[in-house]
Symmetry: D2
Subunit: 298 residues, 4 copies
């Protein structure tokens, strides 16, 4: 059967349920829905081996914040989004110690640029805390690494991050990356946080090696934003909804090969979401109000 | 019925043939196929009112060069593409007089950037010919206008070009724009030249007023590169091919609204094609060899 | 004698006084100093032919706001700078009618980029007021033109603006350009407003034709920011201060030819001042508060 | 006395000779002049402790290629410059083993961008050699690191490079950086190669820790291009030439503080020289002809 592509645990669970035709129960996976600052929040916990196999993702927690209404720009939409992302991050971050932020992806290719763009909104304090410890005593040391891509560095992101972790010795790595979603309506409208690191083969680009506690020796928090839908996956969904369950994968792949589906104004959307993530990180790590972050970044 | 979107005369003809179920004959339209520098060339002539109505495009010639094999980077692929575009342009260009090149579209949005990027590869000579006529006697005066988009200027491209034409008084305007194709395989693999100007409502962006002889008072040659497929059109094609002729337009539009399908490496592809177009223009207008253009632009 | 280069009326007056050795009185020129939002403001009025000859600038008013303390980032420094620029603009702007903002200079060369960068912070409303007059009844129509430079367009800025003025028919043109100062301490620390238009041969780049009421047929308000000091002028000043009045111009020009003196962090400074100017224009033309401008531009 | 600032060994030697009033002999330093591909080449060898103290630079060889005539764009100027840089590099590079290229400096600030820009012209092969060893057997593994600056990373360049060296285990590091020259005529007209690494406190930016064999554990070849003159140094030179040996350093520093002198078209010049360096590296490391490099980079 045609393998639909998604990097969201939320959608992996949906796909399982569709394939199981909603009759069996998915064991080893727990899902809960709430609201946060006005935005829907879904939490999927993969509890054990069975859950891992069913969803094809490692054990851990996956939080998905639905920012669809963000684009309606209602009252305080930006501040609420920052607090929604920031408060979930805060619950996953150790109380103290330096943090290394890793922006994954290709800054020169918009759908892959959410990592490096978010890095541009992070308050960088490690050098200040270390050279002026008294003046910056209220700040947590934060450093940033823009990993680039294999074609422009010759070095796997995971290798380069490993080298930097050995120098910087952070208590936590936060890795930000672009993801693929299965559903158009989630593209540039969702942020996924997880405590499992970044898994090989995911994402929009092709960052092949894992960034996780096992490979880096420190906890890795992953923040992902779906920015594309695989064109073949979109087509497969449309065909199925039209009552044609038998899809010729070869044909679909052929049509959709190397194609991606993105919003028309992806440049603006990726920039805006990257800012939400950068500010959310500052809010969580430095305990600053949004106006304070604005003043420090200007 | 669902209205499939295309800006290529070639595809408008295909769509007509499909809807007519290949039984009737399309009158008022003539199509011929040849090869040029190794690249297939299709010429569609819309001869009269009947042809205009059938294809929804104004009377005139539409030349489509199929650069699919360009991406295999075989021997001389760049030089051959430049000569293919250049030689067709040359046949459409008046023997002398100044030329105004207009790059339409949004430089900050990759699929819409082919116009401004091509403009960057055009040899700009008008000011040199006018200030040093003796030294630059061998050059045709060429000026360039990057029109921007309504949201960043407040002025319709057609209005601004009209104002500039009144000052520069060119013998010809060449307008370069991004187009929408109906077929994924033509995206970033095709260049359409036509002597009809640019028609309202076309393209990737939304340049609403026509640029043509009627509105500008000088002949307008249009160069278009399809860089996107409308997501709903892609889906409609896939559904039909699966034997489902009844498509609910509303649904398709809903799924695909504001989505576009592009190649994964669209940044590189748009840049490369823009260079082919800019060099083709220089080849046609200045009668320079490709190495000479390279030396002058470096 | 060595001709020191400046585009500021304020400095032209200083140079006159120095050359006159402070003994004679400068007739035809009036200068007054006040404070505005905490920033010093100097107003130089050139009243007649005599004043024009003495200062080498056309009759009119030249307002110079000294933003040196801006860079200390004290309380409300940005808001105060916007209001200082905005309130002076407001006094010079007709009560109603469309306005065309012209960003002069080369966006790709930092010291010359203040015009195009300021244009990016201007609220563009002309197309909205015209397509949705009821909804946008509270806004004045504003359009923007980024003129580029001769080498990348082949068209003199003044020619292109003239063409656009004929189409847009504004009640006022506001032209923004980078200037040369004679004093390092004024670079990126001063904004000059004048009701005389932009004079040929000025500025950092080389915009040769005048933009003024005479050439465009509408009033032209000029906003200039000095971003460079001519290297030879700097040297001449230093030599004179050291008690060496006899300067060999040839030598100085030789050393300083094609060199400019700029602040080390010119990129940040030019961006910040461009934002002050863009916001000042919005404040003056649209009568919006700064938070409202922020919300509309985000 | 006023301390004139230079990062070129060639100029440090000149300054020593000027201060010594050309009477004494500089021991521990050897200088020779030749021509290479039509460009003058000066080699300064600092042989011992005495030489180190006199010139304020560590023991080693400093090769300075004078590219002044490059800008006249005579026959083959680019190819000759690439071969001049490349052949000198080749003499300093070990016969085999992977190489890590480090682009130092701030890509967003033109005079400091020569390192990251040169990195963009380097053929990156490490990942290809490692994943397709048979197909890429003719290539030497090359990786690239764009170090960024402290303010945008929070990590010293030297720290980050050290971490990467531990992962990549290169046989050689080549570090490219912008320098300060004492003489305007050398700005953007000179390339200095040295086998001593990069010394703290040098350069246009402020990369504080050394990159050399001692700190990185592998040989470090440094390539530097002067892109600025310190404004106070320029002024001091001018004053001295006017016969005023007593210069008040305080005053000069005051006038020139945080100012730099650069060519007017520094953007173009830095881009062109960065390409010469990137191509020179490819020529030396991969033994490719210039047309082959062009084809591989397109």
């Amino acid at each position: 059967m045609f393998q639909k592509r998604t990097d969201l645990a939320l959608e992996a669970r949906e796909l399982w349920q569709e394939s199981a035709e909603r009759t069996s129960r998915l064991s080893g996976v727990k899902a809960t829905k709430t609201k946060l600052e006005g935005y829907p929040l879904t939490r999927v916990d993969i509890l054990n081996r069975k859950g891992e196999e069913a969803l094809g993702k490692p054990q851990g927690s996956y939080l998905t914040i639905d920012l669809t209404t963000f684009w309606q720009r209602r009252t305080d939409f930006f501040e609420r989004a920052v607090r929604a992302v920031g408060s979930q991050l805060k619950a996953l971050v150790p109380a103290e110690g330096p943090v290394l932020i890793v922006g994954l992806g290709n800054a020169a290719m918009t759908p892959d640029a959410v990592g490096p763009l978010a890095a541009d909104s992070v308050l960088i304090t490690r050098h200040l805390v270390s050279s002026m410890p008294r003046q910056f005593s209220g700040f947590r040391p934060v450093a940033v690494f823009r990993a680039g891509v294999l074609g422009t560095t010759g070095v796997e992101s995971a290798e380069a991050v490993r080298g930097l972790v050995a120098q910087v010795r952070p208590a936590l790595v936060i890795a930000i990356d672009a993801l693929a979603s299965r559903r158009c309506e989630r593209v540039c409208a969702t942020v996924q946080l997880s405590d499992t690191g970044i898994i090989p083969g995911s994402g929009v680009g092709n960052h092949r090696s894992a960034l996780n506690q096992e490979t880096l020796g420190v906890p890795v928090l992953a923040i992902g934003v779906p920015t594309v839908v695989d064109a073949a996956t979109l087509a497969a969904d449309l065909l199925e909804e039209s009552g044609l369950p038998e899809v010729d994968e070869e044909r679909l792949r052929g049509s959709g090969q190397n194609l991606m589906v993105t919003p028309r104004d992806i440049d603006q959307q990726v920039r805006d979401l990257a800012k939400v993530i950068g500010f959310g990180i500052n809010w969580a790590l430095q305990e600053l109000e949004i106006e304070e972050i604005n003043a420090l970044l200007s």
